[in-house]
């Protein structure tokens, strides 16, 4: 029973090749709200399965599988240009780390919080995707670059969200990674660090393909001031939540 539940949960806290299902589903969902809901709810179903089945997965095979899945999708993010798919691959790279956290025997609240911390950046990136698609007809990096010159507010939001995707301080992903690293073995720790590095590389490529470089593409309106403040408030709230969650101690 527990084996079956683990296999089922591997679709929701996606481990390759089960992760193909989530990525196809994310690519096929065109409604922005439905996509947001998918990104928020999907991993929590996996968490719910683990909590419901009182699963205590352990063992080198599962840890290796989760680590390799995370690295695999982080590596593939390097050459993804469509921002929506980029967000889905980020999620497919971040959510396998939940398995590694589960192996450390956290409380239910900590497990849910960790999963949310790993979900924040992909969800924010979906918002960026919609903002880009609405203004530039398509949300492709490298297609219409140099946004920093004409659209400073949108560029600022893209930069902040990308930093969150790279799990840099003080975003929740940073503390979540430190949490999982604090109980990791050497192999798993090295795998997580490689994943982290690849996120940074992919994030820098995303920035270079959107906000930096010579301006090209159609003329577009910048993000309204009120929306920018809203996003800023959302980010501050998430940072604060992350800090409260870590409670000043790992």
């Amino acid at each position: 029973m527990s084996g079956l539940l683990i296999i089922l949960a591997a679709f929701f806290l996606p481990l390759f090749p089960a992760s193909l299902v989530f990525n196809r589903l994310a690519a096929g969902t065109t409604n922005p709200f439905a996509r947001l809901a998918l990104f928020i709810v999907w991993p929590q179903i996996g968490v719910a399965l683990i909590l419901w089945g009182d699963l205590a997965p352990a063992g080198t095979v599962l840890a290796t599988w989760a680590t390799l899945s995370a690295i695999f999708y982080a590596f593939r993010m390097l050459t993804v240009r469509e921002v929506g798919r980029w967000a889905a691959m980020l999620a497919s790279s971040a959510w396998p780390l939940v398995w590694l956290f589960v192996m450390q025997g956290p409380t239910a609240a900590d497990l849910i919080a960790f999963t949310l911390a790993m979900t924040v950046a992909p969800v924010l990136m979906l918002l960026v995707r919609d903002a880009l698609a609405r203004r530039l007809e398509a949300a492709y990096t490298g297609l219409h670059g140099g946004l920093a010159r004409d659209l400073p507010r949108l560029s600022g939001v893209i930069a902040v969200v990308t930093l969150a995707a790279m799990a840099l301080p003080l975003f929740p992903g940073f503390f979540a990674l430190l949490s999982v690293l604090s109980g990791a073995t050497l192999g798993v720790a090295l795998g997580i660090l490689v994943t982290w590095l690849l996120w940074s590389w992919a994030g820098a490529r995303l920035l270079q393909g959107t906000i930096f470089g010579p301006r090209s593409g159609p003329i577009a309106d910048d993000l309204p001031r009120s929306t920018t403040w809203l996003v800023a408030g959302l980010v501050v709230m998430m940072v604060a939540a992350g800090l409260i969650w870590t409670g000043g101690a790992v």
Partner: protein, 560 residues
């Protein structure tokens, strides 16, 4: 007193926030706000250092919570806070006019303030997590500062090189922090270092010693941040960024490696092998940086490689056990390199008016009616060049510490001091002068003053940073090697150096063309230098291969 310490990193972050919020209303005047707050930071840092020296309270620590979010006040943090805030203030003042016509004026000052705050947080961090936060932030903010001019592709390309190298350097420090936390169960530095001193032989993954493993990881981190070979390629190429950023980077940010090694001195004292590694990597970096500096025809790139060489010396000093000297070196280097960068524009402007190429002596003699330059006999100058610097150095060091001959690290540094002195006198001999005796005497006097001053200040500085003599000696002892091997190495190096000088002298006397004799070998060497040993090309090829593989995987899996 420790409560005031919080103001030092927090004020620049506050300045950044105010610059961002008030930028629209205040326009260009927002820079003055930033300068004003940074001036306040310098005043607080100077007060804290003075109070620390006068108060005799010893190191202090204060945390916000029971885990992380803490600062400490100790000699290293007090002195570095003043240096960093001082250099940052100069860069701020310089930027007020220099950046006035650049787009994103307010953004530049905001980023400069965040960078200042991050470096200050790094030097004063009281626990592992706070240190990691600051360590990560430095790389990220530097990326945005270097890419401040958002359009030129080259600026973006080299900003990315810097960013990814810094990220490579961030991650070993994360692993080091994880290992320390797993082994000792604490985050704050005072308790952590106490436990390390009590239990230095704790083992970690694969039964490796914690201290050795952590020292190795910290060293890797320092190599990336301080541009050690082969992680140096980003440094000379970041000149596309604004000049004030270059100044701040070369005077402050790149020194992070030396600071972090000093911060973890209680770990390195148990890791002799890693100190040897630091010495070798530093030496190789110093050599390569200096060689590449000489082959550049771009003043800023040449300064970049010069910094690489200096960073090599700094890391080498830590490898010789002279931790305090490395800090003294990075402060001195930061001050003079910052000045050079901020003055580079004036030098370029002056070169446009006058090329600086000296006249032919025959022209001076016939047209300018100047007497022909005279040279001292080479045998005399050879003896003076080799012996005088050694005598001055030995006497100066014996004056500040009688037992310095017992420390291998001190002898290594003496050796390099001797080489530098000889180079200076040799260069003086080659200068055209009407009165070569007077000029040589003045140069020897200046050299003696510098060495005596440096030895005295350096010794006082070491006593200030590491007041515990037992610990100081333990660092030198950990860096030591077998006496016979050490002596053989010193003799071998001395022979290589002397042979090099003889070769240079003979080449100069014979006026031999570069492509004569060993022409092909020399040209091959020169092409290696001009391509900077192909290190950047190798990285470029690796990047292309990896990206191609990633693309193929995505196509194969239909981007799912």
């Amino acid at each position: 007193m420790i409560e005031l310490q919080w103001l030092i990193p927090l004020l620049p972050f506050l300045a950044a926030l105010l610059v961002h919020l008030l930028g629209g209303r205040m326009g260009k005047r927002v820079a003055r706000l930033s300068v004003g707050i940074n001036l306040l930071v310098v005043v607080v840092a100077a007060f804290q250092l003075t109070a620390y020296i006068a108060g005799d309270t010893g190191p202090q620590w204060m945390g916000l919570a029971n885990g992380w979010g803490s600062l400490q006040l100790d000699p290293l943090s007090a002195i570095m806070a003043l240096v960093v805030s001082g250099i940052s203030l100069v860069v701020h003042i310089y930027s007020v006019r220099y950046m006035i016509e650049e787009p994103g004026y307010g953004r530049f000052f905001m980023l400069l303030d965040v960078m200042t705050g991050s470096i200050l947080l790094m030097v004063m961090a009281g626990d592992l997590i706070t240190l990691l936060i600051a360590w990560h932030l430095i790389g990220v903010v530097l990326y945005f500062l270097l890419a401040h001019n958002t359009e030129p592709p080259t600026a973006q390309r080299y900003a990315f090189w810097t960013f990814i190298t810094y990220r490579l350097g961030d991650l070993p420090l994360v692993l080091a922090a994880v290992i320390l936390f797993q082994a000792y169960g604490v985050l704050d530095f005072p308790t952590l270092f106490e436990r390390i001193a009590e239990m230095p032989d704790v083992r970690t993954f694969m039964d490796l010693p914690v201290t050795g493993t952590v020292a190795f990881l910290v060293a890797l981190s320092a190599f990336a941040k301080s541009a050690q070979f082969p992680l140096h390629t980003w440094l000379p190429y970041t000149m596309e960024g604004p000049t004030p950023v270059s100044a701040l980077m070369h005077a402050g940010i790149v020194n992070a490696g030396g600071i972090i090694i000093n911060r973890f001195a209680p770990v390195f004292v148990h890791s002799g092998e890693i100190l040897h590694l630091l010495f070798v990597v530093g030496l190789v970096t110093a050599l390569i940086g200096s060689v590449l500096m000489l082959t550049q025809n771009d003043i800023k790139k040449s300064l970049g490689y010069s910094t690489m060489g200096q960073m090599g010396f700094m890391i080498m000093e830590t490898g010789a056990g002279a931790f305090a000297l490395a800090i003294f070196h990075l402060i001195a280097h930061g001050l003079f390199k910052g000045t050079m960068f901020l003055g580079a524009g004036n030098v370029i402007g002056a070169a446009r008016k006058h090329d600086g190429v000296p006249n032919d002596p025959l022209y001076d003699f016939l047209v300018e009616r100047k007497s022909a330059p005279a040279r001292l006999p080479w045998l005399i100058i050879g003896a003076v060049t080799l012996i005088v610097p050694l005598v001055i150095l030995v006497m100066a060091h014996a004056w500040v510490a009688e037992d310095f001959f017992q420390k291998q690290g001190a002898i290594v540094l003496l050796f390099f001091g001797w080489i530098t002195g000889v180079q200076v006198l040799f260069a003086t001999h080659r200068l055209d002068s009407e009165n070569p005796v007077r000029m040589m005497a003045l140069i020897i006097l200046s050299f003696a003053l510098i060495v005596v001053g440096y030895s005295f200040v350096g010794h006082s500085f070491e006593t200030f940073l590491y007041p515990d003599e037992v610990f100081r000696n333990a660092l030198y002892h950990a860096a030591g090697i077998d006496a016979v091997t050490f002596d053989m190495l010193v003799i071998l190096l001395a022979l290589i150096v002397v042979l090099g000088w003889m070769g240079a002298y003979l080449t100069n006397v014979r006026r031999q063309r570069i492509d004569e004799g060993h022409g092909n070998a020399r040209l091959t060497l020169y092409s290696l230098f001009s391509r900077e040993f192909y290190v950047a090309d190798v990285y470029d090829r690796m990047t292309v291969t990896l990206l191609d593989f990633s693309k193929r995987l995505n196509v194969w899996l239909k981007w799912s």
